[in-house]
Amino acid sequence: MTSLRARAVTGGILWAVAIIVLGLAGLSSYLASQTQARFVEVLETRLSQAVVAVSNNSATTTDLESAIGDLVYQVPYSGQYWQVENDDGAIYMSPSLNDEQLPRPSGQRQGMTRSEISGPNGEPLFVIAQWISVSDGSDWHVQVASSLRRFEEEQVVLRNTLLTAFAFVAFVSVLAALTQVAVVLRPLNQLREEVSGRWEHDDGLEVDSYPIEVAPLVNDINSLMERNREIMRRSRRQAADLAHAIKTPSAIMRNELEMLDMSGAGVQDATDALDRLDAQLKRSFARMRADGTDAAIGVATNLDTALGRMERAFTALARNEGKEFAADVAPGLRVRMDQSDFEEVMGNLLDNALKWASSKVNLKAAQIDDGLIMIKITDDGPGIPKDEIPKATLGGQRLDVSKPGTGLGLAIAQDLIHAYGGKILLAKDEDLGGLAVHIRLRNVPAKRTD
């Protein structure tokens, strides 16, 4: 769909063009008619001068020339002409005609006539003519002419001036339209930035900080975000309830099998089947959890809180096993991950580390650059040989069956980390000599306080 900005700009331009075309046509038409009226008025005044001159000085040509003494009639082909003739065919004309004649009067002696003719050198002329009778009883045909070329040139200059003025107005209008669009769209731009920003945070958008026209949309976005979180919570709750419903009967069956086993009954096949069932369930629930992270938008986990909880829990668990657990977590870190998913990852990895450590497990979290947080879990256990690392993260592959477990911990952690776009890397720890698990996750800047 076309953007609002493009629509507004296109609409503004079309509107400006329409106004300019109509304004230009109307204004130039009005000014042209005014100019034309003025042109005719001037010519009529000149005719009046000529008529007065003829009435007073019909006797001699010289008198006429001096009576109609405007300088423009003296310059040859000046564009301003007069011509007078009487009943006898005597013709008097302005010197500007340079002995070329204007058309002779036609037979009918009407009042004042107006016409356009081709004058000297093919010059278009506007002519006003009139028959008059003077006091001595003679009739005179008086005509004055003015060049239309100059009039047309003036019209062109006028049109060009108008066009320039309107082009300037158009330019200013488009600029104003763009400015208006920017001002009007600013709340929407702010909304877009905030939505993508708040996705990284937790709370909803603040409805009060938007214009009332945008507020309903903001409300809808808040509802959508909350609905997404609710869907995720509900599906997790259902998965957890299902796990709960299945695992207690599974525990009962396992205990019955153990008792039968102690009494000498052959239950190995049944025990193996139950082991597979439990492992499959664990794997499936982990997969459901990883798949459900698509709905985990707008979530972030504060590592001070989450790793603080892990530190307290694993300090207690390590003490139970006579081992040492140390945590070094830089304050104020946040990752874009649901807290229970993050704790699932850390729980599985720390549990593995504690299980295999001889005496020590270390946890470290720090920001390595603007956008990344590195979490490192190390232990002083036997580690995993390089060539077996891919197997360790496959899931269900127990590299050593001497300790209890399903072999799913690393795979579950890896699935979840990948689901959130993070990376997990296994290596040998140079300091403690055991396994080092490096996790890289995207940093989420602390929530703005403005």
């Binding site: 207690t248 599974s250 850390m346």
Partner: protein, 220 residues
């Protein structure tokens, strides 16, 4: 040693009770959170096995209430949920250990014994004094390396005294820790069990402090 099992699934509770009782532990069962909290607050248990998914009052609330009331009994949480968050919630609220369902009964009893030992400040599973040794993992008692048969009540008394070695234990305390909540308590029978133990293990092991109780002095 007295254990409280707080588990609403009767079959599983019965299996747990059977296993732990067979190992010489005295077991009470609570089938909901309210009962678990009441028993936890009023009876001197050595370990509470607390399922987090209890009816009436969930296990986490019971745990928090017990801890906020100053109860320091070792608590092992049982959870059927997959989430680590549940386990961390429990450990963060003061649980000492956790076990997820389904679990091996042997692992559960090992965890329970480890909790009892740790509470008593003992790091090794085998206690010895002079020529007598007591293996907390198997309840096996030996004198000069020769196994001695003891009744379950005798094991219960000996185990409690060994776990609390170096400390004077009154008859009442002993009966509190070897009889069930609704059991027939008679502190006079404690003297009978102690006498039998002296006959089987030698008279020097358990010392009587007249009118106050019994003590097993420093062990190795």
């Amino acid at each position: 040693m007295r254990i409280l099992i707080a588990e609403d699934e009767p079959v599983l509770a019965s299996q747990l009770k059977k296993t732990l009782t067979s190992e010489g532990l005295t077991v009470d069962v609570a089938i909901d959170g309210a009962e678990a909290q009441y028993l936890g607050e009023t009876e001197p248990y050595d370990v509470i096995i607390l399922d987090l998914g209890l009816p009436i009052r969930d296990g986490l609330t019971v745990l928090k209430n017990l801890r906020s009331g100053g109860n320091e009994t070792s608590i092992l949480i049982l959870t059927a949920r997959n989430d680590w968050t549940d386990r961390v919630d429990g450990l963060d609220a003061g649980a000492d250990d956790y076990l997820t369902k389904p679990f091996h009964m042997a692992e559960l009893s090992a965890r329970v014994r480890a909790l009892i030992r740790r509470k008593a400040g003992k790091s090794t599973p085998v206690f010895s004094k002079d020529n007598v040794s007591f293996d907390t993992r198997t309840n096996q008692v030996m004198v000069e390396g020769i196994p001695i048969n003891l009744t379950s009540q005798e094991v219960a008394v000996l185990s409690y005294l060994f776990h609390n070695s170096g400390r004077l234990v009154s008859r009442t305390e002993l009966s509190d820790h070897i009889y069930q909540h609704e059991g027939d308590r008679d502190s006079n029978t404690i003297a009978v069990f102690v006498n039998r133990l002296r006959n089987k293990l030698g008279s020097d092991l358990i010392e009587t402090v007249r009118g106050r109780g019994y003590v097993i002095k420093a062990i190795t």
